[in-house]
Amino acid sequence: MANVAPDTTVARNDRESPVVVTVLLGCLAAFIILSLLFAGKAAAQDHWTRVLSVVATLGIFTILYRENPLFRFLEHIFIGLATGFGVVYLWLKVMEPRWYIPMMPASLVEGGEGKWWLFFALLFGLLFFSVYFPKLSWMNRFAIGIIMGWAAGYALRAFVGLIGPQITAAFKAPITKYYVEGLPALNSIPMTIGETTWWWHPYWLISLIVLMCVLAYFFFSVEHRAGWIRKPAVAGRYLLMLSLGTIFGTTVMARLSLLIARFDIVIDNIRDWGVMILGKM
């Protein structure tokens, strides 16, 4: 009796057959040639982009059936394109306008500012690569040391800035003398004691109980045997499970949204092509 779902994935084998390699490389060559041909022609480029988006989406989805060469081919193209795009974009948008052009003299580069001292930034950056030369590897400590020191100083300040308001917000009195707007279902509830009106905030009470239970679960200085610590600790564990379940639920929701968007794009394009071929239906 087998009560385990059959494994549909096959051990990855990066050694493709020569036929598959030839076909896929042919596709890549055709892809490059067509992209060059369509460059600058807006309408043709738009159609080409749409064809590519549908083919790439469906090709990547083939992994759901099983591991296959088409998926690997598209995966490598995607990673290669993303890396190439990132390098070029970084040069054009950051390095060139913020470092190269200001550093060069106006006589050599249009807009140059002749700030020659910016050249030392390159030398500083190159210190990171000294790690590849055993005799010079000690030099990368200068670069790493400065950056780590700067980041550590900032991280401490940032931590206080981020967590400080969280700690303040965690201190919530369930009964106060003032009205606090809550969520619609359990808003602040008035209670008149004597001549004074107090406000009871059920959400804050829940928040306090959950906080104490979860803290009890993580409080290991006392053995969790006595009822006063064991019971809240167990409750804290279940409450943690509940919050982890919520995180998992929202993750599933997010992944579904992305899948729906991809399906939407494929369906829209196929519908458009149908209209183009068969005329308006």
Binding site: A169, T250, T251, L256, R262, D264
Partner: protein
Amino acid sequence: MQAFVEKLQALDRRWIYLLLSLVLIVSLIVGKQVDPVVIPPVEQLYKIVDDTPTGPGEGKIIVLCTTFSASTLGENGNHAIALMRHCFLKKKRFAITAVGEAQGALLGRAIATQLAEQYGAEYGVDWIDFDFQLNTLAFYTSFPKDIPGTVRVDGVQGKPLTSYPIMQGIDTINDVALLIDITASNSVFSWLQYVQPNTKPRLKIGYACTGVMVAEAYPFLDSGQLVGMLPGLKGASDYEKLVDVIEEQELAAGNIPQRYEPIRVGGMQLNTARQLMFTQDKAHILIIAFIALGNIGLFIALRLRRRAGKERS
């Protein structure tokens, strides 16, 4: 019965993929718009955008960070569209920028350009593009002190920021009425850590995140560090509903030439969030059914095994 339960437990996962795909395809083709109940964090952000003093002559701007890539267009793309539509409809001046995500700069620009065309907004007057910025500590420390000096040139025409009418009087982070991070990453925490604590009054930060980040962000909403949030596709569809109401009013008053037409980004048409939410609802029902079925199968199998054990003993 036992054979059926065992078969159910050993069901090939590809059947589940196939069923889910069928449900998605059918509901996308049917393509109805949902009428969602707007959740409080969305309503909060909507009110804050509405109340910001960012109209012409009011001296401040909104900064929309489009820090996302094509992979999360379904969620973040719809967030960006809904927020920008709101700004264009209510004449709220805004800037877009992508911090650390090169694709975000291109996508944000493509969305803003097409929406500006639909609503008759002018570049450099109603909105501006701060382009791609590096996600470094240096950016988060220099941007709040000197916006035109840090960004230098805009992303559409490559001219100095100070040459645009929208940037007159916009120098530091104090001139930013609201910053909304539309992102699939945790980049909002950089704004919360490095920028917000150094501002007085505290910089208002909104968050339009993917569903994955929602649970992590709620405590920041509770503490007031975030002033509002658009959680995932649900947030986008809620905000879209609120914006659709304004659009109808503006259209009736003759202030805008046309209703919003779904736009294309990089050859891909972005359908409305409310349409996508219809499909998401159906997918959720199917997943809940799968969970119930799986659990029922497991309990029956356990009971049968226990019974078989008792009979053997």
